[in-house]
């Protein structure tokens, strides 16, 4: 019996449109309306500035632990920018800029990080799932959403986000397999930021790329420069259009970098060098996009300054609003709400127990 080659559809592309200096590959330039380009620019700046403000609040003890996104703004915003409101957004826990893009308010983010469950409440019903902390666990939810979308004969898509570390988890592989098997309108966006806490990308998997994980499932896989918002958008747009028109799922690997710590409880100096971080500073997604927009004549240094001031004021207003709510404190007994649709008799008893205890504490402190 001979050995012979089995031909399988196997390719992984790499896409970069704007290089580190903002030089454009004109052949690859996506057609994007000016309004969208400027909205993206605003989203990038807002994501960065809000992240820095959160870090300040955390360092001052005004909020708790959180996972910074700095450096990864383009890889998440370029992807969600290809969605429409009726599509589903399924984040992990490092997509704050994308969450804001999808309509979550800054004050709700601050409230959550200050340890208030109310932060998860949103003003309007948006097709966004809340943050999922257990790594890769949300990937399969996007598959279920995509299955339901098709069952209801809608042309929406479900886009989920996860990191390089998540590709080592079973849920990731189960999700990709299911989506490809059923040819579902799902888009898997991997933010390869090179670090899973202290474990570098090279120690996460023997695979040369993460995009190639798609190959085993006969799904298109593409690696893009995740700090190039145009490349991310192009790949996401293509994947979304394919999914919408019944062409099945796509895996997009955005090569980016976690410029800060895993969470504020982590100290990256223990396991990575400053040189590595400095090298990635040069690949910052924001200046190169600004160079591009300036080249197109739709952005100027002056406009950037105005925009920054506007964003600073917006962030300040959100901080004020959130801190007012934090100060008011809300009702601790609310912790019983939303466990079930209806409070069970046992929970009603326990809620009453807590209320009585709190009343007694109040009385003691007055007496």
């Amino acid at each position: 019996m001979p050995r012979k080659k089995i031909n399988i559809p196997c390719h992984v592309e790499y896409l970069s449109v704007l290089d580190e200096k903002g030089k454009l590959d004109e052949k690859l330039e996506p057609r994007m309306p000016e309004e969208l380009l400027l909205k993206l620019h605003r989203g990038l700046l807002l994501g960065r500035k809000f992240d820095h403000r959160l870090l300040n609040l955390q360092r001052q003890g005004r909020i708790g632990t959180f996972a910074p996104i700095t450096g990864q703004e383009a890889s998440q915003l370029g992807a969600v920018a290809a969605l429409r409101t009726s599509d589903w957004f399924v984040p992990s826990f490092r997509e704050t800029a994308a969450e804001l893009w999808r309509g979550r308010t800054m004050e709700s983010v601050i409230l959550s990080f200050a340890g208030f469950s109310e932060g998860a409440k949103s003003a309007a019903k948006l097709n966004n799932l809340p943050v999922a902390v257990p790594v890769a666990s949300q990937v399969v939810h996007a598959v279920g959403l995509a299955w339901a979308i098709r069952y209801r004969q809608k042309d929406d898509v479900a886009m989920t986000f996860f990191g390089d570390g998540a590709t080592s988890e079973g849920d990731f592989h189960e999700g990709l397999n299911l989506a490809a098997l059923f040819q579902l309108p799902a888009i898997f966006v991997c933010q390869n930021n090179h670090w899973a806490i202290s474990v570098p990308r090279a120690k996460q998997t023997h695979s040369k790329t993460l995009a190639q994980k798609a190959v085993a499932y006969d799904m298109p896989g593409i690696q893009v420069d995740g700090n190039d918002v145009l490349a991310v958008y192009s790949a996401a747009h293509e994947a979304v259009e394919r999914a919408r028109s019944g062409g099945g799922p796509t895996l997009i690997e955005c090569v980016t970098y976690r410029m800060m710590m895993h969470t504020t409880a982590d100290d990256p100096k223990r396991y990575r060098t400053d040189e590595e971080v400095d090298a990635w500073k040069k690949r910052d997604p924001i200046p190169r996009f600004q160079t591009y927009l300036k080249g197109k004549g739709i952005l100027s240094a002056e406009k950037i300054k105005e925009l920054e001031e506007e964003i600073d004021a917006e962030i300040q207003a959100a901080v004020d609003k959130a801190e007012k709510q934090i100060k008011e404190g809300g009702n601790p007994a609310d912790m019983f709400d939303h466990t079930y649709a209806q409070l069970s008799p046992v929970l009603m008893e326990q809620r009453e127990e807590l209320m009585q205890e709190l009343a007694a504490i109040k009385e003691d402190s007055h007496g």
């Binding site: 632990t65 257990p134 988890e169 079973g170 806490i197 120690k203 409880a265």
Partner: protein, 326 residues
């Protein structure tokens, strides 16, 4: 003897066992170069190298399944799941295999592994980082579930767990990782798994707890003595399963009063088993209904309200007073 935090004491247990026995391998996420997110495995990578202090990819099911394979081969893996809230991903490996291979192979194949994981609230952490789900593991036949309450017993129990012929899930209270220090002897010390301890003697009331809740329990006992003249006997379970009921049953036959304290939710919590044992074995000695001071039957809230959820000194002392005045 050196004064150590629980983190340092656990580190000592691992280091000494690794020095004595080359079958002992530490593995998990960030346990190598980074020394673990709570630094329990700090220095092991430098001392023993990457073959015995193994940084794994993010794969809880893989870490535990791989530990099972290593244990079957004759090694003594001590895997770390970074937070017990992420241990559900590996739950089926524990339930379906670690706890059953001895039975399935009729004693031919055994799984002498330890799964270490931080548990519990009180450190202002994010969701999934504060829960207390020991009962999931305590419910599994073939598995041992251990929770130390301080540096010295943590070290002694971890050594015993590593040497145990059966799989042990070992929960470490985050709230007491660095909260206080104790003298921990350099020379070997173990505590037999499946034995509880009396940590304070008393005649009026029996308080039964374990893990991070031992601190507020002991403080409540002191307060009851000072303010009410009540002498509480305090029992530290140390092992949740198999549960040692000898000491608390004996204690309650003396005191007639029992309060069980844990931060896990109340219904079907570890306290339910303790209370059942008391009803079965000390019923005629009980002078008042047994009280459970526990977390509520809800997911522990985000940190701004976790102190309202967690049993504290006041809640424990109040329950004791109410019972004694009944």
């Amino acid at each position: 003897m050196a004064k150590m935090t629980m983190v340092q004491a656990l580190n000592l247990a691992l280091r000494q066992e690794m020095e004595k026995d080359d079958r002992v391998i530490v593995l998990g996420e960030d346990v190598g170069l980074n020394g673990g997110v709570f630094r329990v495995t700090e220095g092991l990578f430098d001392q023993f190298g990457d073959q015995r202090s193994l940084d794994t990819p993010l794969a809880e099911s893989g870490i535990v399944g791989m530990s099972i394979g290593m244990a079957v081969y004759g090694l003594r893996p001590v895997c770390e799941i970074q937070f017990s809230g992420f241990s559900y991903l590996n739950f089926h490996q524990i339930e379906c295999h670690a706890a059953r291979l001895r039975l399935r192979s009729q004693g031919q194949i055994t799984v002498p592994m330890v799964l270490r994981a931080p548990y519990g609230g009180g450190v202002r952490a994010l969701e999934h980082h504060s829960e207390s789900r020991e009962v999931f593991y305590a419910h599994i036949p073939g598995l041992k579930m251990v929770i130390p309450s301080g540096p010295r017993n943590a070290r002694a129990l971890l050594v015993a767990a590593i040497r145990d012929p059966d799989p042990v899930v070992f929960f470490e209270g985050k709230a007491i990782y660095r909260a206080f220090r104790e003298e921990v002897p350099e020379e070997e010390e173990t505590i037999a798994i499946g034995t509880s301890r009396i940590v304070r003697e008393g005649k009026d009331l029996t308080m039964i707890s374990y893990g991070a809740m031992m601190r507020p329990t002991l403080e409540a006992a002191r307060e009851l003595k000072e303010k009410d003249g009540v002498e509480a006997e305090v029992i530290d379970l140390l092992t949740i399963s198999p549960l040692d009921d000898t000491l608390f049953v004996k204690s309650v036959t003396k005191t007639g009063h029992a309060v069980v304290i844990h931060e896990a939710p109340r219904s079907f919590g570890p306290g339910a088993e303790v209370v059942s044992r008391l009803v079965e074995k000390a019923f005629y000695f009980l002078e008042a209904p047994i009280a459970r001071v526990t977390g509520f039957d809800i997911t522990i809230p985000l940190f701004s309200r976790e102190q309202d959820y967690l049993p504290g000194v006041r809640r424990i002392a109040t329950a004791a007073r109410k019972m004694l005045s009944a």
